[in-house]
């Protein structure tokens, strides 16, 4: 869906490039997370996709079309844009904010109204009460919901999100991440998502692109990066607790056996992630727990040994640890 080829940007003639011959392909419906230390070029890369920053060299393809030199304004109207501080227009109502791009595209009023109501409901904000409010009346989390709704307004196939949940308190952030993951997957959007938070990257990304000094260091699924970090930098970047992070990507159901649990063993839900399950086993100081389904009925056993085996499923992983 999006292909970047040899994308380069230099801000000062004699300094190192901010983005150095970056080549990256993102499939349709994927969430590609760009992550790396400060100054690695992730935001610059994202902003080159909608030409907010013009590349010095290389090409950008969206939907099979070379957009490196097309009219930037028209291009941006077909790409959703969500930034960290949201940037809602303070002098316009929520409805007017969301309707911005459809208005620019000349949709008729009825269509716009229907779309605004649909989007507000989609981001779990009651259209009737919220339409005519102003941004200053909203909390941080609410503002970003509107920000995403606004970006989705003209139903663009591609969306750019620059640390969208960075300015939101940690408690709200988690629920927002889950909600938007659900929405974006449901709508089948292709997303370029910039963050500096590795946990967010693992949670949100179909594939993660780890960048450093303008270059792509590793580009793979979260599981693969955690299991096989490309070098010492990546290994350190994803954190020394990457085994635990890997566990959080799998569920109990994948690893449980159908044999009955030992008597007195604690219970764990079958849809819980393995990291939480490990925590439970350690807290109870046992080697096995009974797995229960949604109704509460025991359907099998989770053993510590099976849990460890799941990390060992790839022989190469055992060596790199």
């Amino acid at each position: 869906m999006i292909t970047l080829r040899g994308l380069t940007k230099r801000f000062a003639a004699d300094a190192a490039p901010a983005v150095d011959a970056l080549t990256l392909a993102i499939g349709a419906g994927e969430i590609c997370v760009l992550i790396g230390p400060s100054g690695c070029g992730k935001t610059t890369t994202m902003r080159m996709v909608n030409r907010m920053i013009e590349p010095d060299a290389g090409t950008i393809e969206v939907g099979g079309r070379d957009v490196t030199h097309v009219d930037a304004v028209t291009l941006r109207r077909s790409i959703g844009y969500v930034i960290q501080q949201v940037g809602l227009f303070p002098h316009l109502t929520i409805a007017e904010n969301v309707a911005t791009v459809p208005r620019l595209l000349g949709w008729d009023e009825a269509r716009i109204d229907a779309r605004v109501d649909f989007l507000l409901a989609l981001v779990r904000m009651d259209p009737a009460t919220m339409r005519d409010r102003f941004p200053r009346e909203l909390s941080g989390g609410q503002k970003q919901r509107i920000g995403v709704a606004r970006a989705l307004a003209a139903d663009p196939p591609v969306m750019l999100m620059d640390e969208p949940f960075g300015a939101i308190d940690p408690i709200t952030r988690g629920s927002l991440q889950d909600e938007f993951l659900r929405i974006l997957r449901e709508l089948g959007k292709t997303i370029v998502f910039v963050t500096h938070d590795i946990d967010e990257a693992i949670r949100m990304g179909t594939r993660i692109a780890i960048m450093r000094a303008g270059r792509l260091v590793q580009y793979d699924t979260p599981e693969a990066i955690l299991a096989h970090p490309a070098d010492a930098f990546v290994a350190e970047f994803v954190g020394t607790d990457r085994a635990l992070k890997r566990l959080s990507l799998a569920t109990v159901a994948a690893v449980a056996t159908t044999s009955p649990p030992p008597p007195g063993a604690p219970r764990v839900a079958s849809d819980a992630n393995l990291r939480d399950a490990l925590s439970l086993l350690l807290a109870a100081d046992v080697d096995a727990a009974g797995v229960v389904d949604a109704a509460g009925g025991v359907i099998g056993t989770l053993t510590l040994a099976a849990l460890r085996r799941s990390l060992r499923s790839d022989p190469a992983a055992a060596e790199s640890r």
Partner: protein
């Protein structure tokens, strides 16, 4: 004393009406001229950091110059009368309008402008739909300051033959004739206060609801 002043006014109705008319005309014209120059200049300068800084520095110097000094400097160059006074008053009104236009535009949050551009607005759409509504309160505050300054300056314009209510005041002082003096001083004070009130109301009305 006030009774005398009132009688003086009644006796010189036509003269007063002319002076009042001239005062309002010259003030309004100077304000409009200054706005026509300073607002576009401000819009242009706000985009370029260097130009904005230069413009603000020049405007600040302009703001410090004593009004009467500016009027007096025009005299040897352009002579006396309506036109030279208009020029001087326009010069006096430029600084506050210029600085407020630049401040107003630069005061629009960068994130809001970034979002607008990123969503696909052309530069002129960003200016018209986003920056202008958000900058208007500040720009109008500048117009208000300039308006009051011009009405006050127009009084001093009497010294260079600009006409207006200042004529009554200067004549009144020269001849120590209180009624004449009051016929100039009180109405012009009321005019100044009304102008301030008028622009204040305009400023409030034009501020978008979302940012009041």
């Amino acid at each position: 004393m006030f009774v005398d002043a009132w009688q003086y006014l009644l006796l010189h109705r036509a003269q007063f009406a002319t002076a009042f008319g001239v005062h309002v005309t010259i003030s309004a014209s100077a304000l409009l001229l200054a706005a026509a120059i300073a607002i576009p200049a401000g819009v242009f300068a706000a985009r370029k950091a260097g130009a904005a800084l230069a413009a603000i520095n020049i405007a600040n110097i302009g703001r410090t110059l004593p009004s009467l000094a500016v009027l007096a400097l025009v005299l040897p160059l352009l002579g006396t009368g309506f036109a030279p006074s208009l020029v001087a008053l326009t010069l006096l009104a430029l600084p506050p309008i210029l600085t407020h236009t630049i401040a107003g535009l630069q005061g629009v949050e960068a994130d809001v402008v970034d979002a607008a551009r990123g969503m696909g607005m052309t530069p002129s759409q960003v200016l018209r739909q986003i920056e202008t509504p958000l900058a208007i309160p500040v720009v109008f505050a500048g117009l208000r300051t300039a308006a009051v300054q011009v009405v006050s300056g127009a009084v001093l314009a009497a010294f260079i033959g600009g006409g207006g209510l200042g004529d009554f005041i200067t004549a009144g002082i020269a001849m120590m004739a209180m009624p004449q003096l009051l016929v100039g001083a009180i109405p012009v004070t009321l005019l100044s206060l009304s102008t301030d009130y008028l622009f204040g109301t305009l400023e409030r009305r034009l501020t978008p609801r979302g940012i009041r």
